[in-house]
Point group: C3
Chain length 334, copies 3
């Protein structure tokens, strides 16, 4: 890859673009612009600054640990760190301890990315993707309940049934547009439709098929969430769409070569991701944790793993219990 800029800033922006599987400095810049727009709107800059700290620490950690150079250059060690850095200030109020948390969390996300690569990817060809962010984020947000120096913002632990179901309604046209773009923005934990539009622009700049897949994923997610009568206020925030958007991209375009059959496969995966979103939200409720991109991660792992498909285990006793033999062999060799 001789045409790549390998200065640290480029690595960081490329890593940021990898949140959507892109490898493009301009796209990464637009993603930061989308975060800044949301911070400007809400007045909360800790998320954007956290994301910047996250990408710098995660990328730097990969360099310090002498991880695979090509992967670092592609930004593959950065995207989990940028998400950790953006997510922690979204769910934990700013404090000195929060910044310690972000620095160690982003560094850890790089190690976890390497661990996923050395296990899931090495053995089964399953990409770790944002799994390391989900794992790191869950542990750290949960930890914030334990530490007096950290205060969790938003939903505390509760049972799924403690919250009334919202009144079902069909969204208006303007709401449909908001949902469409927020579904994309929420991948970066941004509830702003403007941020979502900038992010979608960034994806199209890097790859037109990826942009189309993201747009279709957002549409499908919106239709399914409304059809299943999910809580309208949650749907409106884009919280039913960000994981399906990633699934549509990953399964439809990124990790499998696109074809008609694969497109249909990706549609099924995208619909299933909406169901799993509803399920994981409930499962994480008692721990007071958001599901992050876990619905996407889980669906993608399951739909990508069979690409190297072997027959499942036949149900017949073909295997002799080998302990005796092993022991006999061990004994005789001494």
């Amino acid at each position: 890859m001789p045409d790549k800029n390998n200065d640290f800033l480029s690595l960081c922006l490329r890593g940021t673009s990898q949140v959507f599987f892109m490898e493009n400095v301009v796209t990464g810049f637009l993603f930061f612009a989308a975060m800044a727009v949301a911070s400007y709107t809400t007045g909360v800059w800790a998320t954007t600054i956290g994301a910047a700290v996250g990408i710098v620490v995660a990328t730097g950690t990969a360099q310090l640990l002498d991880y695979d150079k090509e992967s670092i250059t592609s930004g593959l060690f950065g995207f989990n760190g940028v998400l950790v850095g953006a997510a922690l200030p979204t769910f934990v109020a700013a404090s000195p301890q929060l910044w310690v948390y972000i620095v160690f969390g982003a560094a850890a996300s790089t190690v976890v990315t390497a661990a996923f690569g050395a296990t899931l990817t090495k053995s089964w060809g399953v990409p770790g993707s944002t799994g390391p962010f989900v794992l790191t984020g869950w542990l750290l947000v949960a930890g914030a309940y334990s530490f007096g120096g950290l205060e969790v913002i938003g939903d505390t632990p509760h049972f799924a049934t403690d919250y009334a179901q919202g009144v079902v309604k069909i969204p208006s046209y303007i709401e449909m547009v908001q949902i469409f773009f927020r579904n994309i923005g929420q991948v970066f934990l941004l509830g702003s439709e403007f941020s979502g539009a900038i992010i979608l622009l960034g994806i199209f700049l890097a790859s037109v098929p990826a942009g189309i897949a993201a747009a279709l994923g957002s549409l499908i997610a919106g239709v399914v969430a409304v059809g299943m009568e999910a809580d309208p206020s949650v749907v409106l925030q884009g919280l039913y769409g960000f994981s399906p958007v990633l699934t549509a991209l990953a399964v439809g375009v990124i990790f499998i070569k696109t074809s008609m059959k694969v497109a249909l496969y990706a549609v099924v995966a995208t619909v299933v991701t909406v169901f799993i979103q509803g399920g994981l939200d409930v499962i994480m409720d008692p721990d007071g944790l958001p599901s992050f991109t876990a619905p996407y991660v889980l669906t993608m792992y399951l739909f990508i793993a069979p690409k190297r498909f072997l027959a499942p285990h036949p149900h017949r006793p073909v295997v002799h219990y080998p302990a005796h033999k092993a022991a006999a062999a061990a004994a005789s060799s001494k």
Copy 2:
């Protein structure tokens, strides 16, 4: 396998029989009869119809995805789908969205079966068994709390301590017979002793050793559950026995060649499954989820994995940290 009928109906019935590791059309037919008997008793036909939809969709999905033909013929891609189809109407009230849920759930169960085959089975020789049903079922039942179009029937999320322990008592003779057969019927989520008897008949028809193992598993589970003073009303429904029955079969007869030592090994595994049943029930309580066959799945995975046993990792620093070397090698090769 030249003597096999390979029409779609045979594939579906064979897949149904695979819930108990059998590969027998008549057995599959009897299992459906057992479900119909229970539906006739309760008046709820959605479970039997759901099971039929589940087996058709799961088997058809495997064909559409061109999965391994021999495995499809053996029914190995169907048994998780039939369980998803039977379980969802057991825990979610009928609605248009439920049927959408069953169709996508059964299709997903086939993909998940393939994913388990490509990972657990490929790398470690551990059969996925009903693990894909458990995973798919948990996510979908949990999701039902999120969607207004779906209503969960039965236990909602709670703490394990929110329910009083039942009064301990030794079951009467008639109750012992009920427990014995219900322990088998509950594998198909059926609380009817008649259904359990039909299922046991179906197993004996396909394999006498398997029938004996199932019966012994049910006996052991009953004795252990009563001895540990589990809630008698739960024991009476057969809910402490269905996972141990599967463990007894899987560990004692199906996946390891039977011997005296293996029989003892299977007894320990069966007893442990009763303990894990108690444990997983408690662990799933806050999420409002049943443990399904997870106690069996977990026990079986753990007791089957060591059959290809290697020594555990020795506790000494034998491994140099190779990052430097790897980086040096990578750098020098450019």
Copy 3:
């Protein structure tokens, strides 16, 4: 290893010493002395007796199953059993059923150790370490809520937010000393600083570098826990320190060859373990379960796995969907 005593008592004491990665009969004896001191103080002898039963049953089970002789001799099949035996009476009141539980639990811990060895270790070089204890312990303590014959002592299921945060304060000098030694003692679930001192002595007897790592791990954990403003009463019991102590040992000395860089790596891992301790405590709260050594186990797995590092999965569609080809090949070969 010709100089090893291979009588059963030596295997058991060596297995006990393996809780801290040692392989030393005298160290194992001192660890039992530490448990006895704590039992003498509290008057509760079930923990020490349970530990003895656990190590005997776990080691004996490994012999009965003809597991790898060298591993049995090194004590690698015993340390999870001794922890199961010590932990169950710590969280479950003594009763006849408790002792059944301990015997089957310790036997199961040996099988689970073999299962972890045949999967994690075989495929990825990740040691199972005390993971089998954590898994077995969680399932059995959870099960105790289900069985009338078992009564859980201590914290019942609750939300993390149901307990008020303690008042933050800097520990006094005497408290600092208590925390330092209790952080080590709690690996054996012992809240006594005298027990912790005996254990640390045992480690130093077997390995000076290991003793130094344990001491530094305890120091780091104390500083981080206080700095994050964790509940002082929990910190004082040593409950924020035992997992970090194990991480410091495992990552800094045992599983990776020590160097300056590895030492820094181990410090980061140790700090992260404190955060994960806070997180897992919260995550296990609704199930009414302690986190045991899970914070160490999880951190160690993640920080050790990348030592055989490969590049993560590149984000490009390099893989054709092979199902068609596989099916075609399968069809043509018939």
